[in-house]
Symmetry: C2
Subunit: 286 residues, 2 copies
């Protein structure tokens, strides 16, 4: 966890503490939606900020609850926006779901029923699991724009009636920016629907669960105390960072407003906050 | 509430206590699915049981969380199965949703967005509310076999972004018998989906909420202590009966098994239980 000296009240990022943070971490973990882009639009100053951090030797890691895309598709999205990111730097909740089954030695002869989109099916296939047909031993639920009653019914039957059937949620984000104009229901909507009909709770593998951290640590030999999680959501990104023992920086470029952060009912407090990641450019100086 | 002499352990219905119960109540409140029928099939002995109760002067009232039908459609279903029931004897959660808006003086110029089927739209129209288009001031969610992402999105936007928008759930039943062969997700599935994306809790108007009891009491001048709620679900029917201060009889012809009833984790205990309502025929004698 954070060192004892961390103040409990979030500090606005300043030239002084930005420089301190910069020197005390080796890796920045970025959420994407609301931090790097909104919908299909890059947030102001992002490419330069990432370039600066890379040029100073910082590792950049992208940890997202997106489940609709595979790592390959996500890397393509970065490239299409002019940012060079490799598949290895991306940790998606679709990948986390596949890895969850893998580390739990899910038998390859059993099938996985998916409420979700291509990303989950792709990552399951890459991990050697079959996503359709046959006896179902696991149901994976993520964001699904094509949700319908029959998918909900099949998932419900599998979970209620197949003994030992796993119920895995990629994440429980309430809403997300499918477009940059308005919020759309997130995976939390489909996951809640299946909870409602099965009256069971899922295993969540995306943020704020630290399940993905194990895979990330295998690739990067960096102590979590020298990582900084940068995100726009308190209940996923910042909680994930705190759960994992990382430094935390909230950006106000996504779903969280300053008044939500400072509301007395909010008990998820980041170490720092700022309006957007490119503030680092100015604060860190040349 | 029940009189202090009621034993806390559910009693199997016997000739003795069935006769006692029969004489101490003036009205039987029946859940339908799992009690009167399963899917489209009448449960064994139902018509004779209802005839016997009517011939002895008991009021028969049908209190159901079904939201897909209006009272008119529901009366038709009874008739098609050879049972004479009037619309006035039927209390549906679709009707309850319309009445909820009425008693809360919902302004007629505001629109109601419905995730649900014809029953809700019909009952809203009968109560003078408009179910589509215009500024939305209430979202009513019931069972919807045609649920899709855009319905969820619209409901989510209305609830999150229209100040004061009501979120009304007809009921939260996890599953129901759409067919008599297997269980299908109930309104609880769609309601949970909207809770998941809005992170708000609905006002529930169906069982176990006693909202419907006010309307029922207006029609029938009977004290709730002289009513017996007969149902197959613990968390809706029996809880409703107990919340309203009725006598309670659980039938095992629907979703609840004897082992669920007697499981130590179950704390919703009916006063009596029996396998099906027609047991009354034999127990009460000629």
């Amino acid at each position: 966890m954070n060192d004892g000296a961390s103040p409990s009240i979030p500090q606005l990022l300043s030239p002084q503490n930005a420089t301190d943070l910069f020197h005390s971490v080796d890796a920045f973990l970025f959420d994407c939606d609301g931090v790097i882009w909104k919908g299909d639009k890059l947030i102001d100053g992002v490419p330069h900020t990432l370039e600066l951090l890379r040029s100073k030797g910082k590792k950049l890691i992208f940890v997202t609850n997106n489940s609709t895309k595979s790592r390959r598709q996500y890397a393509k999205k970065f490239h299409s926006l002019g940012i060079a990111v490799t598949e290895e730097e991306i940790f998606l909740s679709s990948f986390a779901a596949a890895m969850f089954l893998k580390v739990n030695e899910f038998p390859p002869e059993k099938k996985v029923y998916v409420i979700g989109e291509e990303g989950i099916l792709d990552e399951l296939e890459l991990a050697g699991f079959i996503g359709l047909g046959g006896p179902v031993g696991a149901v994976v639920v993520g964001l699904d724009q094509y949700i319908n009653y029959y998918k909900l019914q099949y998932a419900t039957l599998c979970i209620r009636e197949n003994p030992g059937c796993l119920f895995v949620a990629t994440n429980r984000d309430a809403v997300g920016h499918m477009t940059d104009l308005q919020e759309w229901p997130g995976a939390g909507c489909m996951v809640a629907a299946v909870c409602g009909s099965t009256q069971k709770e899922p295993i969540v593998v995306g943020k704020p669960s630290t399940f993905m951290m194990d895979f990330l640590l295998k690739k990067y030999q960096i102590s979590t105390s020298r990582m900084c999680m940068v995100g726009d959501r308190l209940d996923t990104d910042i909680l994930f960072g705190k759960n994992a023992g990382c430094r935390t920086l909230l950006v106000l470029s996504g779903v969280t407003t300053q008044s939500t952060l400072q509301d007395p009912t909010n008990d998820i407090l980041p170490e720092y906050y700022t309006s957007k990641i490119s503030d680092l450019l100015n604060l860190l100086g040349p």
